[in-house]
């Protein structure tokens, strides 16, 4: 549906986007995920028409988008700051796009009423944005974006301005809405949890390039590059050489068990990644595992995070266990994992 082909954009010396190509399907909930300054917002602004790429093409259902001015694209953008018109009421804000289409007054009124109903703000139609809470403003912005029935809805960090509790509610609501209206959503976020919980597919951006495009579960379980392994979720990374077998050869720890995602030539640089929840904490007397000492235990309610100092490893090894932890800081332990729970990828050049 939306096809992004070889888009590049430079700002002076900085390359914001370097030959980015993506294909997004009809009705898909797609996320552009990456740290700040990775170019994801620039891509969004190019699609919306507020930024012009130096090279590349963007087409929507085969139609060229880049030759159209921003006000002639069948695309809605929900701004990070919401950009609600402060001098208009909620109803007027939502009606703005329909009024520009010169629709009959009666139809505008009806559609504004419907969409306010959908986002649960019917009672606030006559208020000004300044009289609303953050969550309500966000819903007005959303209503204003979807009321035009765009073919594509772009959302720039839609939940970042909300506090944690409201954010969780809005996440569910966004998903429900997307199902209901059937519009293709492209959301930009730096929050990997948000991307994983919302999106059908995620493109991970790093310094202007796409590192991996995958479904959330694949992205989490089978990261294809050290950047993705490190950025998406917490991870423990061990570097070494590919051994040709199920494991890497580490200078400090010898063989570490893991599963290569692709054939790696023995002797080349490799990285082993193992998720905190896949690591098992064993007694210091256990036969297998890396010996270390518990540095810190943090209790989060459902889970506890334990960081273990393993001599020879630059960062503490992070272990997640269900419920409260049974160990205390200072305890001598061993950390170990099964080969199928750790993934091995080629190290960055």
């Amino acid at each position: 549906m939306l096809k992004i082909d070889g888009i590049s954009r430079r700002f002076g010396d900085v390359t914001a986007l370097d030959d980015v190509s993506l294909e997004i399907g009809q009705g898909e909930f797609f996320a552009l995920l990456g740290p700040s300054g990775c170019g994801k917002t620039t891509l969004l602004r190019i699609i919306a028409g507020f930024e012009t790429p130096d090279a590349g093409k963007v087409t929507l259902d085969g139609e060229d988008l880049l030759s159209r001015p921003p006000n002639r694209r069948p695309i809605s953008l929900m701004f990070q700051s919401y950009a609600l018109f402060p001098h208009m009421t909620v109803a007027k804000n939502v009606a703005y796009g329909l009024e520009r289409e010169k629709l009959p007054r009666q139809e505008i009124k009806q559609r504004v009423g419907e969409v306010l109903e959908t986002v649960g703000l019917s009672a606030h139609a006559a208020r000004r944005p300044a009289q609303l809470s953050g969550g309500q403003r966000q819903r007005v912005a959303l209503a204003r974006s979807i009321v035009k029935r765009p073919r594509l809805l772009l959302l720039d960090e839609p939940l970042s301005a909300l506090d944690k509790k409201v954010r969780a509610d809005m996440q569910l609501e966004l998903k429900r809405l997307q199902h209901e209206v059937g519009i293709t959503f492209v959301v930009v976020t730096h929050d990997q949890e948000e991307a994983m919980s919302l999106a059908d597919r995620i493109a991970v951006f790093d310094r202007g390039t796409v590192r991996q495009v995958d479904e959330p579960i694949s992205l989490y379980e089978r990261p294809r590059s050290p950047f993705v392994a490190d950025f998406v979720g917490a991870n423990n990374l061990f570097s070494g050489e590919a051994s040709g077998l199920d494991g890497i050869k580490s200078e400090k720890f010898g063989m570490l068990a893991g599963t290569p995602l692709e054939e790696l030539e023995a002797g080349t640089g490799a990285l082993l990644a193992v998720r905190p929840e896949k690591i098992e904490l064993a007694d210091a007397s256990a036969t297998r595992g890396l010996a270390g000492e518990v540095l810190d235990v943090s209790f989060y309610g459902g889970v506890s995070h334990i960081s273990v100092d393993v001599p020879g490893h630059p960062k503490p090894v992070l272990v997640a266990v269900q419920g409260a932890a049974s160990v205390r800081p200072g305890a001598k332990v061993k950390v170990r994992w099964n080969a199928e729970d750790a993934v091995i990828m080629a190290a960055d050049q």
Binding site: G49, N71, L77, A83, F85, R100
Partner: protein, 288 residues
């Protein structure tokens, strides 16, 4: 002991009032001595009679207010209103695009442009206005330039248009600066949101930019209108004797005709018009 401790918080508000009074008193003294007292004096003159050789004779009369409605003086007031209104309108029409443009400039150029706007203020006001008489006079620069292409000479000085030009030249910066401040603080994303929702550039201006900068428009208009309306230097230098504004009239009553009570009455009328305008402006700004 306990009761002593309790009395302390009670005495604190009194201390705060005292502190406020100490800090406010210089400003209050200034306002009372240099504004309220003279204003009260001037207003009190309006109900007294003129002295034969100037000054005031303290005998009650309503004659001054009756004279105010003499068509001769009324037309001067109306002319002044007209000149000030035209000046304000033209200043707005020139000032808005200027301010808008400056607000879009890169930061470095913004500062430079603003300095350029304020720069004329660094030269003496009289000299700047006087320069216009040299430019526009019969054998002046403008006419001799026109003569080179076979036009003119035109009578450019000493009419209402010249006064408007002079006022405009002098007070345009006072229009540009508040407008710039209003436009500059507009979130540029509002314009993007408007475009994203299908509005053309003109519609965005009409529906978003202009309504949100109305306070700046009102402030700028007031800043230009007030000094234009009561001005007497510019009409005197550029308007000749033909067209007189209320400022000239007041000056003449005090200095030439030596009719202080009527001069005071005219001043009262001028202030009354401005107060009404201020109230209208405040009301409109609150609604915007």
């Amino acid at each position: 002991m306990k009761s002593e401790v309790k009395t302390q918080p009670v005495s604190r508000p009194r201390g705060r009032w005292l502190g406020a009074f100490v800090f406010l008193s210089p400003g209050l003294a200034y306002l009372v001595v240099l504004m309220l007292v003279p204003l009260a004096l001037v207003f009190s003159y309006t109900v007294f009679q003129r002295g034969r050789f100037g000054g005031v004779v303290y005998e009650f009369t309503t004659e001054n207010f009756e004279r105010l409605f003499d068509p001769l003086y009324l037309s001067v007031l109306l002319d002044s209103l007209k000149i000030a209104a035209i000046t304000t309108l033209v200043a707005l029409l020139i000032g808005y695009p200027t301010a808008y443009l400056i607000a879009q400039l890169p930061k470095k150029w913004k500062t430079l442009a603003l300095v350029a706007i304020v720069l004329p203020f660094w030269t003496n006001f009289i000299i700047r206005v006087y320069a216009w008489t040299i430019l526009l006079s019969g054998p002046g620069l403008v006419n001799s330039a026109l003569a080179k292409v076979g036009l003119g000479p035109y009578e450019l000085l000493y009419n209402q248009g010249t006064i408007v030009a002079g006022l405009l030249y002098s007070y345009l910066p006072l229009m540009v600066l508040p407008l710039y401040a209003a436009i500059e603080k507009l979130d540029p994303q509002l314009r993007e949101a408007s475009a994203n929702l299908g509005a053309s550039g003109f519609t965005t201006f009409r529906k978003v930019t202009l309504p949100l900068t109305v306070p700046g428009v009102l402030t700028g208009s007031l800043f230009v209108f007030v000094p234009s309306f009561g001005n007497f230097v510019i009409p005197e230098m550029l308007g000749g004797n033909k067209s007189i504004m209320v400022g000239n009239l007041i000056r003449n009553q005090f200095l030439s005709a030596r009719d202080w009570p009527f001069g005071a009455t005219l001043s009262l009328a001028l202030i009354a018009v401005l107060v009404v305008l201020l109230i209208v402006q405040a009301w409109a700004a609150r609604r915007a």
